[in-house]
Symmetry: C2
Subunit: 189 residues, 2 copies
DNA sequence: GAGTGACCAGAAATGATTTTTAGTCATACG
DNA sequence: CGTATGACTAAAAATCATTTCTGGTCACTC
């Protein structure tokens, strides 16, 4: 049993269960069955340990989004599936959900930072896909960074924000209809 | 001099200068040169007084947006001008700016509520314009509520949020180009 | 009868005191 | 040796008793 690995697993468990602030280094050490000092031979401080965990989560998110890909489906359909997958992650993935709660309730700065990082990562991911699609001739050339940003923010607004004000969730078909009518209209070749 | 009017002016001044929480009823009474009890003959409580002030501000915002209208310009151009005007209001209008600060720093519930109301009002305003344009045959029929929501959130993201992550403001031409390429593409007749 | 400000109860600020916790390092151990 | 450890520390955070503030009322005034 790799000590570093034990620590990572213990930290992942604790951060997922209690969030960033409520996770203490003593607790991680206890769960991992190591002395507290040992943690500091692998990670400079609590925040770096946290970052390592979050990085792993980002990998999982990319993997989940990639898994939504369907060979032969249109770029639009795949982009939709990927975006929905990433947004579902906010509720599905225990750590992600916990961090969102903590951000709302506590405003822990380390958490706010990390959540921004995750969003940036999601936008980069979309941007990548757009650029590849342009290279393959599936999409017209466009400002990929901007379009990725607009797409992500639009999905966030329609899938996540809408429900908060209007009480009732927006159903997926209406979203697809709207987005493919508008944003995608000019992109698809 | 109308006592009610004096109170409204005093309250507007104080809320704009100090925000909701830091404005005390004693202070409003002093500025308005009335006894504190007098305020309560016109307004049931602090929150209702606040609402009255905010309602006035919403009127001003609509008026500012209407003032951006140019006879003969395309719907798209006018919608852009109107949205930009409303978003500028966040920095321009002292009360609006103050409330945004207070929301970020204090999370005063009354302020969060009111800010949501203002956003809803802005979306309704856009929705109105879209519906009129559809009736006039300037736009294709569409789900006006959804499109208004998407438009507003997109502008908010591009004009307000973008700068926060990327450091540098997004310039207006790029925004126009993107939005007219995407969202408007399918709407305009 | 409209207007007022002293008054009150509950909320919030203050600050002294205690507890918790991230990070260190002298020591034990293999 | 060098790696792991947990007692230790300084600083941050929680707690709590006390004081101050503030929204709202109402007996009184003019």
């Amino acid at each position: 049993m790799d000590r570093r690995q034990e620590i990572l697993e213990a930290a992942a468990k604790s951060f997922s269960l209690f969030g960033y602030k409520a996770t203490t280094m003593d607790q991680v050490a206890k769960i991992a069955n190591v002395g507290k000092g040992t943690i500091y031979t692998f990670f400079a401080n609590k925040e770096e340990l946290f970052h390592a965990i979050v990085l792993k989560m980002i990998e999982e998110m990319r993997a989940a989004a990639d898994a939504a890909f369907v060979e032969g489906a249109s770029f639009q359909q795949n982009a939709h599936a990927r975006l929905m997958q990433m947004l579902k992650f906010r509720e599905t993935h225990q750590l992600y959900a916990k961090l969102i709660d903590e951000e709302k309730a506590l405003r822990t700065p380390a958490v706010s930072e990390v959540l921004q990082t995750i969003e940036k990562e999601a936008v980069s991911y979309i941007q990548e896909k757009i650029e590849k699609a342009i290279a393959k001739g599936e999409l017209k050339p466009c400002d990929a960074e901007l379009v990725a940003y607009l797409l992500f923010k639009s999905y966030l607004a329609l899938v996540v924000d809408w429900g908060k004000n209007h009480g009732t969730e927006l159903d997926e078909e209406r979203i697809v209809a709207l987005i493919s009518d508008t944003i995608f209209k000019s992109l698809v070749i």
